[in-house]
């Protein structure tokens, strides 16, 4: 009986996955009553689809039905026009983005995937906060320039659920520029619950760079000198490497002691400091990364900002936005993904922070939850969304759910996807609230503004 329920539920996901379907409802071939335009193509021998996840820092690319991406590619490209290397997400106009994407996709198709774009459908994993302009330009480049047969724009958070075979969960994606949480209930994304903070890898890098500049010692030919006296900044790649190889997320008890020690300016409160490490730089000098720096660099994730938001509060705030009966199931089905969630100690600390926050006044009496459970997708967290895309893309129904080139050419743009709104409406999760789509648009704008208003605007 239990088992049967699961089938029904997951079948329900699929049916409701028709939010993807509905989203593209202006597309003739997504109608259940017509011949799909691509029936010929979808018959049997179709070549596996290309799965693209264009991250702010790294893009993951590969093919449907594969269990891991074939390549992680830094999301930047050297433009042939200006000979400058630019980040894909670092564009100032649509024309510029168009040029960047033409060259970046060329790199992906002809250096990494080694297939002809024309021959394969595309599953494009995107953040739910992906700006409309970005999606439109991706469609324009892939359809008009590369003539791909179809694209499915699939929200990463939902794709993560596919890697687990579940349909209710609270998915947290901690990537490069932001951390975003989306509750999904019975296969339906609760747009109202979307939470985002611009705290993720970039913020850690910024903090680490500042700490090193402020405190680190450089050893050159046996002579010690403050880093700041020798170099005005370290390259971003070095900062990232130092983070990946030496930093970790400390446990909550130590974090509290460290906070006290800093607040009270009392060195003796600081717990026993981890070992320091000498990090070799180009040119033979060595940078001393102290145990303190290794331990506190990632603390920005859990420090509350001016609006009292942190990576941990996003989860509780998201749950708060959902109806009471959903809250326990959501809290019992946390899914963590994104490269930043791979930091050693991240998950453990996050759960401890959540538990502590539960006793705070703003959540205490309002949440009605007392424990959390965390899923482990069959992937490394930095490609969980991609893997979901791969599993979805391998299904024979991909053609029904995708936006075909013909439909795109007819409409001249990606048809309105207000249907996500419809999906929400339909399940009467948020009755009488027509504004969720507007909310989403507003959220997108907000997250854009925030990320551009941040201290250091873009990864360089």
């Amino acid at each position: 009986m239990e088992a049967l329920n699961v089938v029904v539920n997951v079948a329900f996901v699929l049916e409701k996955q028709s939010f993807i379907n509905l989203r593209l409802s202006a597309v003739p071939d997504s109608d259940p009553f017509t011949m799909p335009l691509f029936e010929g193509l979808s018959a049997g021998s179709e070549k596996s689809a290309v799965i693209l996840d264009i991250g702010a820092a790294y893009s993951k690319v590969g093919f449907a039905g594969e269990f891991g991406p074939w390549a992680f590619v830094s999301s930047k490209v050297k433009l042939s026009k200006t000979k400058k290397e630019v980040f894909v997400w670092d564009y100032s106009s649509e024309e510029e983005l168009f040029d960047i994407l033409v060259e970046f996709f060329h790199l992906l198709y002809f250096k990494h995937l080694l297939v002809n774009p024309k021959d394969r459908r595309v599953v494009f994993c995107e953040s739910i906060l992906c700006p409309t302009q970005f999606r439109e330009t991706v469609a324009k480049v892939l359809f008009k320039h590369y003539e791909v047969p179809s694209i499915l724009f699939a929200p990463s958070h939902l794709l993560a659920m596919f890697t687990l075979g579940i349909n209710t969960g609270l998915v947290l994606d901690a990537g490069f520029s932001e951390t975003t949480v989306l509750p999904i209930y019975e296969g339906i994304p609760i747009i109202k619950g979307v939470q985002t903070v611009t705290v993720a890898a970039r913020e850690i890098h910024r903090n680490l760079a500042a700490l090193l500049q402020d405190q680190a010692v450089l050893i050159t030919d046996g002579e010690e000198a403050p880093l700041a006296s020798k170099m005005s900044s370290l390259p971003d790649t070095v900062i990232e490497d130092i983070k990946v190889r030496t930093c970790f997320v400390t446990n909550i008890n130590r974090a509290r002691l460290i906070q006290q020690s800093i607040l009270q300016n009392d060195e003796s409160k600081w717990p026993a400091v981890p070992s320091s490490v000498e990090y070799p730089l180009d040119g033979g000098s060595k940078l001393v990364v102290t145990g303190k720096v290794r331990e506190v660099a990632c603390e920005v994730l859990f420090e509350q900002d001016m609006e009292e938001k942190s990576v941990a509060t996003t989860i509780l705030d998201a749950i708060l936005q959902c109806p009471l009966d959903m809250r326990i199931p959501l809290a019992q089905n946390l899914v963590l993904m994104g490269g930043t969630s791979m930091l050693p100690g991240f998950a453990h600390r996050l759960v401890d922070e959540l538990k502590e926050l539960l006793s705070k006044p703003q959540y205490k009496d309002r949440l009605a939850i007392s424990s959390f459970k965390v899923h482990s997708p069959p992937s490394e967290a930095n490609y969980t969304a991609w893997l979901g895309g791969s599993l979805f893309g391998a299904m024979e129904i991909l053609s029904y759910r995708s936006l075909s080139r013909e439909a795109y050419n007819q409409a001249g743009k990606v048809p309105d996807w207000c249907s996500l709104d419809d999906a929400v409406q339909e399940a009467e999760v948020v009755p009488k609230e027509r504004s969720s789509m507007k909310q989403l648009e507003a959220l997108r704008k907000l997250s854009l503004e925030k990320s551009s208003a941040g201290a250091s605007p873009t990864p360089k």
Partner: protein
Amino acid sequence: MASLLQFEKVLMKCSCDIKSPIINLYFCKHCLKLRCGRCVSHEVDSYSCPNCLENMPSAEAKLKKNRCANCLDCPSCNHSLTTRATSVALTDSQSPDKKMTKKVYYLACGLCRWTSRDIGLGDKETASGGWEEHDNPHFERLNELLEFYHQLAIKEKNEREQKKFNKRRTYLRLQEKYFSPGGLATRRKASFLNALSSMAPKTDEPEITPVKLIEPKEEVDPLPSKYYTQPLVLEKVTTLAQRLNRPEFASSQVEGLYPRHKHLVIKRSQRCRECEHNLSKPEYNPSSIKFKIQLVALHHIPDVRIYLVPKLYQAKESIVTILLSNPSQEKMETELEAINEPPSTGLLTVPEGLLVLAAKDITAEFDEKTADTSEFKDNPEKKSSETSQGHIQFRSGHKLGVLFKVTPQTSDSDVVVCFKLKYKYHNTSPSLRTPVEDEEKPDAVWLEHEVEINLGATSP
């Protein structure tokens, strides 16, 4: 020599309006138009391994995930690994006195000195190795998921077919549905779909075996205490690039790094998007740098180069020598027309009338004197009464030095002049065009391209 340095200085406008140096342009003999890397369609032509230069058919390349079966890369630095032979002493258990040696093989990197022995891979008895391959650690689970979604997809597909059969609508009716504004229709459609699917007969459908649910965990692994207490040995920790090389096996310890098969490279062919003819097609042999087809513009249209630029002063007329050369083996009539509008920043006067370029005589390439240029009486210098100044500087074989009068209109940016290059193109292989065209047109046509020359900065 000069061409090496100045090819960015002379740009030609492609039929797609993008300006490129002539060396980057193709000339489609069928459409008689310029094409560039941006407006042709690129295709994968052949696959090969950059190390052993072995060709691979495309189906096999996909099967091997775009990697060479024979060559391996160093997991530490990505350099190609070499197989090293060595002898090991064997002791025979029966007769311990008898010394035996056996030849064994291991992998080594010539660059960073990594060896397969470092990670505890046993030596092999054959040179070709047969090094262990690894499956994704979640292989079984992922196959279960794939199978489960496959069944669901089949089910949905069948239901869809059934509905299509039962309820075929007229195109008009559908159109009205799709293009009617608002989501109402879609929503109704979707609920209709739900209703139908619950009633749909499910007699001969196979039961779907549900994928088993892996329970989320309440206990999350804490950060191992070694992070706080033990020294960090940086050399033992992998870099992010090393981890991302094999995303499915991302190991944070160097002991977990396994060699990777070498990534294949491709040769690309280029096709004209308008007429679908090949503009460039490389030879199949991976070590060949030749082409079966290569319609580069340089072979078909007159080349324009800067020959001599005197010091330029703002608002003062100067004479610039420009070299035109004829790529074809027939003489070529050309005509120039100045374009004195942006992006031009200098007032340009070009020679009027026909300029005839002598045929390119390949045999005379190294002996310019043999070229007979006496038939060209185009140098008005001799008729000084008509023009105050001649416009032909010199003639040498198929090259012609012409004089441009330039009056810079700027002092703070480079002087740019633009003109139309018109020339009579002789189609040397008329069979390429359709018979109809041949009847209407002779095998020579006037073509024109816009040229933009950057003459550099003005002197103060």
